[in-house]
Amino acid sequence: MKVLVPVKRVLDYNVKPRVKADGTGVDLANVKMSMNPFDEIAVEEAIRLKEKGVVTEIVAVSIGEAKSQETLRTALAMGADRAILVVSEEKVEPLGVAKLLAKIAGEESPDLIILGKQAIDDDNNQTGQMLAGLLGWGQGTFASAVVVADGVAKVTREVDGGSETEELKLPAIVTTDLRLNEPRYASLPNIMKAKSKPLAQKTPADYGVDVSPRLTTLKVVEPAKRTAGVKVADVDELIGKLKAMGVAK
């Protein structure tokens, strides 16, 4: 069976985001960009399914600027078989991404699409659920375990209060949570090999999808800053503070 893994290029999670002085967004010039961490987990899960013999082909897909090629090469180096890049220099919102992915799913007929639960730049947490809606497929979001057998994906999900298990008819959508697996690093030989794996370049127009944004960002500002307070010397002083706040008697 075939798995599609959408991966997004985002500001590296170790970099502290800086809001641009003109209030138009976050400064992405000359900062480290990486694959969205949840998408690394998605790629890893697809590879593990392949290693188990459940999956035969893994196709990584990214929508974004031409540089997203690097992100796809990372996916290929980890173990994806081929990649599709839909180039758009303008930002594409989750609804547009989901529409493009739905078209690609139509052409590729995957049995499973594994996405991250959330891209850590815009923190939308939407694309997988939207794609499931557009395709009319089941959705196992926030997955911490995935077992695929007999045309069913059994997905354990991280939910408020604990965990929950759902059985989805294939084809289906899964979105990853942090505990699903620990992604591997690509080895140097695999990084070299990835350079010759197929990477197709497309545009939204090739799929006939209108990706014009529905939302206008009017401004982006820094949140109210917290300032460091006081240091107390010992437990007694801390308890004094707690008492003054009425938290302790």
Partner: protein, 309 residues
């Protein structure tokens, strides 16, 4: 504007998270509620008493028993024939269902709103709350998820909503609920606790977490949270995680113990009224946001603190 609020409940009672959503919805217009579930007449009656409740749509069917998005989304789409906006809490259920509804309506959802600026304009956090964006929607209808800590809770009493049954849209046959492991705890829920005690990687193991963090929390009547590192290492279950990709909390007092203060953790707790940090590293980033800091070894400090309280 006519709004529809998806009511979060556990089959028996309305969840608190719903009340903040009602407040956000009331800023947009008339508030209608949707209670979907199985055997939910009591939940519907409770929903009708929420201050500001207009119509309470009740869809009572086995297909809705476990809030499966595949079944609930088509029901909401049906109701959106005569509503202008639908709002969900930013809970795991809300986040699961809302985008599916948005896609079916061909609407770009606005996630995790912090404020209602006007009928089409909202603020929301991006980049783990390191930036706040003001966004305006061009869509004819709105699909919103609401950050619970950003809105006052509507009063649970005083409303006189009118209950109206709606027909089931049925089971779509795409997914089956196969069980849940929900931890029962006597402690306050994280998202509504007034005080939270959180532990990090420094606790070293699950035994230490339970024997150090929990007695302190119990002394203070506090909820218990954790950093991702503590959850990943298995000290506590996943739903203890506070942060960008876990729970967002804003208690009166947040006590971070052996937590370094990574931006992903800060994203989940930096709107707490008072932050207290206990950490042996005086340069730990958590001290940059803490109102009260105590530098030292938690294995000495925490037992002493618990004992003296």
């Amino acid at each position: 504007m006519k709004t529809l609020v998806w009511v979060e409940h556990d089959g028996k009672a309305v969840k608190d998270a719903t009340l903040a959503v009602v407040t956000a919805a009331a800023k947009l217009g008339e508030v209608h509620l949707l209670v979907a579930g199985q055997g939910v007449s009591e939940v519907a009656a409770e929903a009708a008493r929420i201050a500001g409740a207009g119509k309470v749509h009740v869809a009572d069917d086995a297909a809705y028993a476990h809030a499966l998005a595949e079944n609930v989304a088509p029901l909401i789409v049906e109701l959106m024939g005569h509503h202008d906006a639908v709002l969900f809490p930013s809970t795991s259920n809300g986040k699961n269902i809302a985008p599916r509804v948005a896609a079916l309506l061909d609407v770009m959802q606005i996630s995790d709103i912090l404020s209602v600026e006007s009928a089409d304009t909202f603020t929301r956090p991006i980049y783990a709350g390191n930036a706040i964006a003001t966004v305006q929607s061009k869509d004819a209808r709105l699909v919103l998820t609401v950050r619970g800590t950003a809105f006052e809770k509507a009063s649970a009493e005083g409303g006189s909503g009118v209950i109206e049954a709606v027909a089931s849209t049925g089971d779509k046959g795409l997914s089956v609920f196969a069980g849940a492991e929900i931890a029962k705890s006597e402690r306050p829920e994280l998202t509504s606790a007034k005080i939270i005690v959180s532990g990090g990687r420094a606790l070293q193991n699950s035994e230490n977490f339970h024997s150090l963090i929990e007695p302190l929390a119990d002394k203070l009547g506090a909820g218990v949270g954790a950093s991702r590192a503590a959850v990943d290492a298995g000290y506590v279950p996943n739903d203890y995680q506070v942060g960008q990709t876990g729970k967002i909390v804003a208690p009166e007092v947040y006590i971070a113990i052996g937590i370094s203060g990574a931006i992903q953790h800060l994203a989940g707790m930096k709107d707490s009224k008072t932050i207290i940090a206990i950490n042996k590293d005086e340069d730990a980033p958590i001290f940059q946001v803490a109102d009260i800091g105590l530098v030292g070894d938690l294995f000495k400090i925490v037992p002493e603190l618990t004992e003296k309280l």
